[in-house]
């Protein structure tokens, strides 16, 4: 067990071990997780790109490593992956900027 650092890439391989302390919930989670990423109305590549974008939003290093690999496996290229991250970044930036309307409302009330 590492005591010196957070986010050891080796820990990603231990993800399955979460079932050791709560098996029924973990089993349900992994079954659902597997189902989510199967090809459906969206392709596996599209789902991997969404996951990559979300991984950047939640800033999860494990997820970024895992879904970079998955995106490449599913045939995504650098442009697609970077565009996905820009989508995440744009929503993050927009979600800050859109609150400025509140700032503007409030400032307008207070000023002549």
């Amino acid at each position: 067990m590492s005591k010196k650092r957070y986010f050891d890439p080796e820990d990603l391989k231990k993800f399955g071990q979460i079932s050791e302390w709560q098996k029924p919930m973990a089993d349900k989670f992994f079954a659902w997780y597997g189902e989510v990423f199967k090809e459906g109305a969206l392709t596996e590549r599209e789902k991997a790109l969404i996951a990559l974008a979300v991984a950047h939003t939640v800033q999860c290093p494990y997820c970024i490593d895992a879904y970079t690999t998955t995106c490449l496996e599913k045939g995504a290229d650098e442009e697609q992956m970077m565009e996905a991250v820009h989508v995440a970044a744009a929503i993050r930036a927009g979600s800050s900027l859109v609150f400025s309307t509140q700032m503007m409302n409030h400032a307008k009330e207070m000023t002549m």
């Binding site: 090809e39 392709t43 596996e44 590549r45 690999t69 490449l72 496996e73 599913k74 045939g75 290229d77 650098e78 442009e79």
Partner: protein, 357 residues
Amino acid sequence: MSIHPRTQTLARRHSPLSDTFFQLEVLNGRAVTDVKVPLFAETIRQAGYADGVLMPTRIEIFQVNVGKLCNQTCAHCHVDAGPDRKRENMSKETFDQCLEVLRRYDIPTVDITGGAPEMNPHFRWFVEECRALGKHIMDRCNLTILLAHERYRDLPQFFAQHQVEIVSSLPHYNARRTDSQRGDGVFEASIEALRLLNEVGYGQPDSGLKINLVYNPTGTFLPGNQGALEREFKAQLQRRYGVVFNHLYAITNMPISRFLDYLLESGQYETYMQTLLDAFNPAAVAGVMCRNTISVSWEGYLYDCDFNQMLDLKVDAPCTHIRDFDLQTLEQRCIVLNQHCYGCTAGAGSSCGGQVA
């Protein structure tokens, strides 16, 4: 339209990996690295193959590697082919010995590979002779050869005339991904070559002329689902460039020759071998190509597959040369296994015809 390799052959670089024995030492953790992967034979024994032995089913594909000469120098090439490999080219005498075997036995498919097989001076004659014997012919064509010189410009018509099935590498519909593996300018030239093949009917519905593309990862990851990749490649190549093809074969990169060199140089050898081992799929073992293929080298030696050929692991049978070819003896041989075999059993498996499980 010219292409510029990003690497040189191991032979030209005088790399120790140009020695096949040295490669086997690396794969077994006795040179360069001490990484030891469980013995492949032991892994398949645990998967239910008695004594860790793999036997052929029936020889249906006669794969001829006509030489190492190629107009490209791809970063992952398992043959270490390139423009400097002028010496290693099959002679007329060896081709004649191949034809004698093909005449004698009912082996339906002749799979011609290289290098760029079309650069061998006897290539067209050999194709014509095989057709005269009623064989189905596959040519592993790198596409760019069609544009490499005036003398290759009529190859599409030649292929069509002899109903040759074309199998061509195109690792991505993105130019940067493709060129990073195959050399600068290769993508653009490949698309142009695909257009020329499409023009004579290849890939067109009801033409009977097949062009299949080979996808292999442009890095240390495994190929994804072959069917999903095929759908994506078809849609993207049609939309972006208006080119069509029949099937996409997803092939895993084999940790030998120039890809092994890349793995060692980039410090990713251990991770890649672990990736292959973690993805070992017992169900893929049954469908590996060495079970229905015999591979012939430019010198006429016999191997279980093109990868064993490149490691100089000759067939474990009394006849190891084409002049002594005996089908019954060869079909009773044990396939020679080594650590690179994990490359064909990872995930959905890998063969010259794509995924197997």
